[in-house]
């Protein structure tokens, strides 16, 4: 009995190149002197993939083209140079899963990939792959492929693999399999072989060398020296929740009810941090608050809207269909909140920078030169402070000042932004 693979009943058609590849793998593994349980074989979908039942190693049989990624996960997780992660995939798998090969080569996961390149899809009936040579007849191109397939070894080398090699798989090539298996880091060995059931049948009378020659495919070995294999170690990290986040309740508020506030300005004008400072100040005053932001995906340009809800009781629904208060500090902000401003009723309050045209609304309108007084970058914060100081007092002015002092804006934003005579 052979140690790694039961070779007496391999599941391939007579003469299949996969058989030769498996026998060479067995020989190489025996010579290296590993134990079967030191080896994890990851097979792709394809004729080669049904061989895992013959292996006495650990085996994983995954999806078409994905085996290098699955194997990379295993290799990265094991972090054990004494364990050998091996991939068997076809040229079909290498085509659909090329990205995984490139990534694994680039990250230099500790694994050896054997691409059993029989120049077509065996399992599905002989269609051409991305590696099929020029003039080779497949089900896809019964007259022969119009151009040569791409050079996988060159591609993987370009992705900085320590080892990428192609050989034409005839006879005993176990020394080269052994060489690939011994690489510390990522190694890819492309083994060019023939599928008798489709390849030979479609291309009778033509020799393999002919196709390799017209395609410019040759045996080659490409190396990147001195690459460190991928490693990942566990690290200590600080909890995301700690007393440091706690907001002390230092102030008192007589406010009863719920206010839904929309503050709209421009990107880069501190709208989001203003909203967060306002919400935090409400909490320091014993109230509940929620805050969310809306902005275009390109966060550095266009509108920026902060939605803040302040309430004396728990806030469940966090949406704002019609705001109680709209605070507008720029043209971008006005554009974004216009439809909601138009829905506001007599009960609503619109606080708007006096540089802007007042839109049609039933809300009570208050104009103020926020931008002129302290500049665009602090307009939103100033407008929110103005609302609390001059329009409706939700919590003490001191709460906002205190929150600003403890925020990341402390020292960057002058405190007079929050002050009104």
């Amino acid at each position: 009995m052979t140690k790694f693979v039961e070779t007496s009943n391999l599941p391939f058609c007579p003469g299949c190149g996969h058989r030769v590849a498996v026998i060479n793998t067995e020989k190489a593994l025996e010579r290296i002197g590993l134990n079967p349980l030191d080896v994890i074989l990851v097979t792709d979908i394809g004729c080669h993939g049904i061989v895992d039942k013959n292996f006495h190693t650990h085996t994983i049989h995954g999806l078409h083209g994905r085996s290098p990624a699955l194997a990379a996960g295993v290799a990265a997780a094991l972090r054990n140079p004494d364990k050998k992660v091996i991939v068997y995939m076809g040229d079909g798998g290498a085509t659909i899963g090329l990205q995984h090969l490139v990534e694994a080569a680039h990250r230099n996961f500790n694994m050896t990939v054997f691409v059993l390149n029989n120049m077509l899809y065996g399992m599905t009936g002989g269609q051409g792959s991305g590696l099929t040579p020029k003039c080779y007849k497949t089900m896809t191109y019964p007259e022969g492929h119009p151009q040569a397939g791409y050079d996988l070894v060159e591609l993987i080398h370009a992705a900085r693999a320590p080892y990428a090699r192609r050989l034409v798989g005839r006879g005993d090539y176990s020394d080269i399999v052994e060489e690939a298996l011994k690489i510390n880091g990522f190694a890819l060995l492309e083994i060019v072989e023939v599928c008798p059931s489709y390849g030979l049948k479609f291309n009778r009378g033509k020799r393999l060398d002919y196709f390799l020659e017209v395609s410019g495919i040759e045996e080659k070995l490409l190396i990147h020296e001195n690459r460190q294999p991928f490693t990942l170690s566990e690290r200590e990290t600080a909890p995301l929740l700690s007393e440091k986040l706690a907001i002390e309740v230092e102030f008192n508020s007589d406010f009863k009810g719920t206010k839904r506030i929309v503050a709209s300005g421009s990107a880069g004008e501190g709208v989001q941090s203003a909203g967060e400072i306002f919400a935090t100040a409400a909490i320091t005053s014993g109230l509940h608050a929620t805050k969310k932001g809306a902005y275009p995906v390109t966060v550095g340009v266009g509108f920026s809207t902060a939605e803040v809800i302040v309430s004396d009781s728990e806030i469940l629904y966090t949406g704002i269909v019609v705001p109680d208060v709209a605070i507008i500090t720029s043209v971008d902000g006005l554009g974004h909140s216009l439809s909601r401003i138009q829905k506001m009723t007599e009960d609503g309050i619109l606080i708007i920078d006096d540089s802007l045209d007042v839109p049609e609304t039933r809300a009570k309108v208050i104009r103020h030169p926020f931008r002129k007084e302290t500049g665009g970058r602090t307009a939103a914060l100033r407008a929110l402070a103005f609302y609390n100081s001059k329009v409706e007092r939700l919590f003490p002015e001191e709460a906002l000042l205190q929150t600003l002092r403890r925020s990341k804006l402390a020292g960057k934003v002058k405190e007079n932004v929050l002050k009104f005579d």
Binding site: I40, G62, A69, G73, N80, Q99, L241, E248, I283, G293
Partner: protein, 373 residues
Amino acid sequence: MNVKSSLTLLDGSRLIVESFVKSGADIFIGYPITPTNWIYSYSQKRFPMMLAAPDEITTLQWMAGWSAAGYLPVTATSFPGFALMVESINMAYMMELPMVITLAQRLGPSTGTATAGAQGDLLLINGLISGGYPIPTFSPSNMKDCWELPNLALRTAVELRTPVILLTSKEMVMTKFTVDLGDLKELPRVTRKFYDGDEPFHPYKPGPNLVPDFLPVGNDRWQVRFTASTHNQDGIIQHTSPEAMENTKRLQSKLYRNLDSFLRFEFDETPGADTLLVSYGITALAAREATHRLRSMGYRISLLIVKTLLPVAPFFYRIFEHYRRIVVAEENLNGEYKEILFGKNPGTNVVGVNGIGKMISPDDIVEGVIEND
């Protein structure tokens, strides 16, 4: 006055990530996508290990590799990334590899609106596994759930040897809420248990609760085989042998057998009520508010918030029996959970409160209930 408080202003993403780490998740593997950006960046800071994958198929495959090697990986994505993961989640389901996938819903179809919330992916999850088998799916309905359900999701993944979905939405993970840290209970740590028996190991031999024992690949004691193809108890590919068919059916029956261990819901019952409001996820917040309002208006109404969405608990139908009218509120066009619970043509006593492009509001639900009274 100076009250020592543990009140904070924080978002669901922070709670979810901290909960995963506290609960024992080993590694976050992911590819960035809105609205999971905060989950990604918190994970980058907080996880003991983090791997940035080059795409979502790789993400799931790497996770499967880590899981096969005995670790507990998690990721987060939204529809476009989730769509790429579908085949690989099926693989992990078939191989019985524990992992958790957080899906933060955004407005579709396709790329849709990345920064608008939605609850539009539940039917996809319901049909995710080829063959129609359920995949355990949890949906946090508030910040407390964002803390507790990741723990339950991990525990379910490990105890039932299965991938698990944590289904949330933009408005849950990118809104800051007032959260009292004192309300967040200690989370029991989830650890993976490995077979230590002296009998040869069979990777798919059902245990007493139908879940097979686990051993990582690479171990020095027993050969381990994982396969995504139809297989027998040893993980050897079979066409449709009786043993293999039993194994495939077990993938579903193990979930129902153990459903009690991971079934979570809130039932706020009003005796004598003949209307039941059902909701989940982000809309559960509006549903709670609407229920308070309706009750203060004199309506008698019960509220069922479902947190274990899939598999659907047969027990729910015992609750439904008692109601003349059932209103299902969710943020999608046609009522996805409504369809899962009651079919495409549920009759006039089941109605949906639905909408897209904005959160379902308490007003919408109040109106929906009154209109159909």
